[in-house]
Symmetry: C2
Subunit: 318 residues, 2 copies
Amino acid sequence: MASEFKLIERFFTRPVPDTVLGVGDDAALLRVNDGMELAVSTDMLVSGTHFFPDTPSFFLGHKALAVNLSDMAAMGAQPRWATLALSLPAVDDDWLEKFSAGLFHLADEHQINLIGGDTTRGPLNLCITIMGEVPEGQALRRSGAQVGDDIWVSGVLGDAAIALAHMQGHINLPRQNFETCSLALHQPAPRVALGLALRGIANSAIDISDGLLADIGHILKSSGVGAEIAFSALPVSSVLQPFLDQPLGRRCVLAGGDDYELCFTAPAIFRSAVEKVAVTLGLRITCIGTITQGNRCEVHAKDGSTVDVGVSGYDHFR
Amino acid sequence: MASEFKLIERFFTRPVPDTVLGVGDDAALLRVNDGMELAVSTDMLVSGTHFFPDTPSFFLGHKALAVNLSDMAAMGAQPRWATLALSLPAVDDDWLEKFSAGLFHLADEHQINLIGGDTTRGPLNLCITIMGEVPEGQALRRSGAQVGDDIWVSGVLGDAAIALAHMQGHINLPRQNFETCSLALHQPAPRVALGLALRGIANSAIDISDGLLADIGHILKSSGVGAEIAFSALPVSSVLQPFLDQPLGRRCVLAGGDDYELCFTAPAIFRSAVEKVAVTLGLRITCIGTITQGNRCEVHAKDGSTVDVGVSGYDHFR
């Protein structure tokens, strides 16, 4: 069987142009540019909890990095470096080859360097720590939402959740529809460019990993404000649209995790600035509500009634 | 059951004095001091691979951080920040209370800040990424060893391995002896102060996590040199001493992992400087050999014969 060191060399050692020292010493060395703060985040994906054990490893390589890039996006940070810690039941060259390809494909797209890591034997577990730069004082925090802010989300919501519902046998999607939605589940596109464009525009931001209501809830709690959401404004795909009058459809859009879109708030005077960003990036960005006084998040249907989904979002220990 | 967010708040959220923004947003924000490089390393500990599932969690909290601090020590870096990703089969308040206590006890000793992390459900897995600072160009790398350098190690070697041999039933140590050695296994003392003191003295350094020969091997490969080691010079405890004429004892001292002592090389003219560091730190530091031309690592007994242990060190996939 390949040794731990050969494995790192073969699958995870690549040139690291913007780094003082990459993989292969006790630590990597890097230089943060003057006037920049370093943004740091870590996310761990566990087999059986975050993904089915038989998920193709190309998708896992992509997703392990994507969920971390999404955290950089939510801070308005430029992602630059990442470390990977990987626990594997056994060495499977084919699995590793594809995992590595999925990881580096996305890393190259965002020009980030894999600077270090750890490989060990154990139940399948993927842990990435990502580091990025943001000019001092310009990070998009959860705590900056102001009463009167518009609430925006990028992309569409709930596709990953409805793909999962199909895989779990709760619904049966036509094949073409499932394939469209499963892209959202397996290969989410982290909204890094959007995060960068929102510096100086957004008052607060978060990425939607636990579900819209749960993640908006974090903004509300951190900022000490409430929110009103127009259910009819929520952006959904044509696949999810027909399910919106069912509890499952409502749960997917309001509480479905794994979307990795950005939710952000911005003063109403920046409405046209946000719309311009949407055009520039070729990305759907939708105003879904308003920040209010208080601490409640209310979702209203067109007739003014309250939409209740019964569950606020994904929590690994609930 | 406690929620993921309450769990983070209760057990892992502490003031972070030297950090712009700590736990609780999509990423932490930190500032690296001018003229400093950031040293980054990550280590993952897996239940059943790195520790017995019933290991007291205070020890696990200590050790998960200690092995990472040891990487900072080996680079001559001042550790400053860490993230923790934790996968748990279930929430056990008592387990978490003690894990957190073990972690923060060591974090406080080294004045480092836990700035972020992730908790999730899954097989027990502890992954820490550590970040530290080192003045530009002053990091202790594996690649700097020069022919003629003395080879030094701190502390004693093999106690962790012999404690493990006892726990696995290969030998039977008297209780007092086992307790002494198990301290090395469960609560290794990362040699951070030594690493800092060796800036400007050592040409190369590594921490001994996989066993002396394997880790010296990394220095030799990176530096393109060989080594001669005097077996009789290797520092061992009074517990391990009686086993040195047995294969098991030799394996413990030469190939036993989990020591987390530093192995470093320094020019012979710095011999008294190293000895002064030892006195200042109250730490045993022993010269065990010399860097040679070539690429082989030879261990000689007093009679000049070669000592062979048959295995060079710990590798998770061999």
